[in-house]
Amino acid sequence: MADALLHIENVRAGYGDAVVIDDIGFSLGEGESLAVLGRNGMGKTTLILTLMGQTNLVAGRMSMRGVRFERSPSNARVAMGLGWAPQERGIFASLTVEENLAVAARAGHWNAARTFELFPSLAERRRNFGNQLSGGEQQMLAIARALMTNPALLLLDEPLEGLAPIIVEEMTRTIRKLAAEGVGFILVEQHTQLALGLTRQAIILERGRIVFKGASQELIDDPSVLVRYVGLRGERGLVPAAPR
């Protein structure tokens, strides 16, 4: 599978000397989507950060469309097509909404006008500074900023965390819209059912290792694995899975 959009194998990584994720491997094709599930502290964010080159990679290979990138710095990975919306959002406080988008801009379909169309409420705040935004607006901006890099694969780390239900719905619609436009994504979520409804494939992490890898539908049909590894807290965000 040298030509998969993203292919990683035997990845072991962590912080300093501590190994947090181990023996991680999966492949994603163009425009495909993957849910990354697991309880708190199981290594989901560490996996995303490892894809972005912001952890200490101990072993493993990672490639994008056949090009190895495990030694490339973060910014080169963005140029290769990874678009990152961090869990803590990472909005630049001293930049306006417009500037947060502009600094990430790369040529392609997504530009400021199109992202503002996708997130009209951001357009109204375009001259506000990053530290003047609500949590929901920050999350939208984080995704919009990732889109500005015109990624082939979006890395969304808990985009629904801490959002009001009405904004969760709006974000869900947006993610669905992006998927329909052919943007691939990896979605880390605690709203398990929602995440499964939005993705085609899923993995579950347990203490840094993959304990389930398969179709999202499988987990919807047979929730016993979910209950075992993610617990009932996944039911928190129970929303009817979208027809696919």
Partner: protein, 304 residues
């Protein structure tokens, strides 16, 4: 080397000596503050961006001074025309230093950074003494900059006016560049959060190299402009280190506004101290710094 008064004062006797004094101190103090700002603004930005403690910043200022003196003495270039050369040459020299020496140390411990940059200071002092000799450089401003201009009962030095003018233009250019351009937004993004900046595709290393070069060039320009007020000899980088550190710590790393406010405060206090209490004048700035740091430990505009 005892530092001379920034601008020898020439009070014309008849009227209002108190107001004259105040106006004199304001004018000289702000002019001196502008000079300090030009010299240290680069350090403030690069410190905020890479958290790299570059104590050797004054080496660039010294080098700018020597560029100007050499061009004037050896090539007969007029003072004003040497200034762009001081900026450009120092900026260019700073790039390999950043690329090949400093870059390896960004993630090093602060103590290691301090040791490295102090080492660079002493190497620079030795090199300058070897090339240009240990004595203060002879330097004379062109005639038109030694004159005073009388307005009413006040008299202003044209040199001070030059510092004010150049300082103001540079301040405006820096603010415009930083606040209104995409490149400036990238600098601010890297200061806000370097990891996220990398993660949204900003080539932080390149942005930093350019910023560092411009900041070093400005230090060189400041060093050249300031020879008349600060003197120029190989110990320059040590002698004025404390000024740069005061500007950065009072202003708060990474903010131009902070550096400007701190430089003006420092310029005013230093000038006022030397004017009103000549015996203890040089001491005033330390008291002011101490008070500001007690009041706002992160600097006037620093982030907690």
């Amino acid at each position: 080397m005892p530092r001379p008064f920034l601008f020898p004062t020439r009070i014309t006797p008849p009227v209002l000596p108190i107001i004259q004094g105040i106006v004199q101190v304001l004018f000289d103090g702000i002019a001196f503050g502008m000079l300090l700002f030009v010299m240290s603004v680069g350090l403030s930005i690069t410190l905020g961006m890479m958290h790299f403690a570059n104590l050797a910043h004054g080496v660039f200022a010294m080098l700018g001074g020597y560029v100007t003196v050499v061009l004037m003495h050896k090539a007969g270039v007029p003072f004003l025309e040497t200034l762009p050369a001081a900026f450009v040459i120092v900026a260019i020299v700073s790039v390999p230093l950043e690329r090949f020496v400093y870059r390896r140390m960004y993630s090093a411990k602060e103590l290691d950074q301090v040791l490295l940059t102090v080492g660079i200071i002493y190497m620079a002092i030795a090199a300058a003494a070897y090339v240009w000799g240990p004595e203060p450089m002879a330097f004379a401003l062109p005639d038109y900059l030694t004159r005073y201009r009388d307005i009413g009962s006040f008299s202003f030095s044209t040199y001070g006016a030059l510092l004010l003018a150049i300082g103001t233009v540079i301040t405006l250019v820096i603010f415009y560049g930083l606040e209104r351009t995409r490149f400036g937004a990238m600098i601010r993004a890297a200061v806000d959060d370097r990891r996220v900046a990398l993660g949204v595709g900003i080539n932080v290393n390149r942005v930093f190299t350019i910023t560092f070069a411009v900041g070093s060039g400005l230090a060189g320009l400041g060093g050249a402009l300031g020879i008349n007020a600060l003197g120029l000899d190989p110990s320059f980088p040590i002698e004025y280190l404390v000024f740069f550190l005061i500007v950065v710590s009072i202003g708060g790393g990474g903010t131009v506004k902070g550096a400007l406010a701190a430089a003006l405060l420092l310029g005013l206090c230093d000038t006022a101290g030397k004017y009103y209490v000549p015996q203890t004048g040089a001491f005033i700035i330390y008291v002011v710094m101490l008070l500001v740091m007690l009041w706002r430990p992160n600097g006037l505009f620093g982030r907690p």
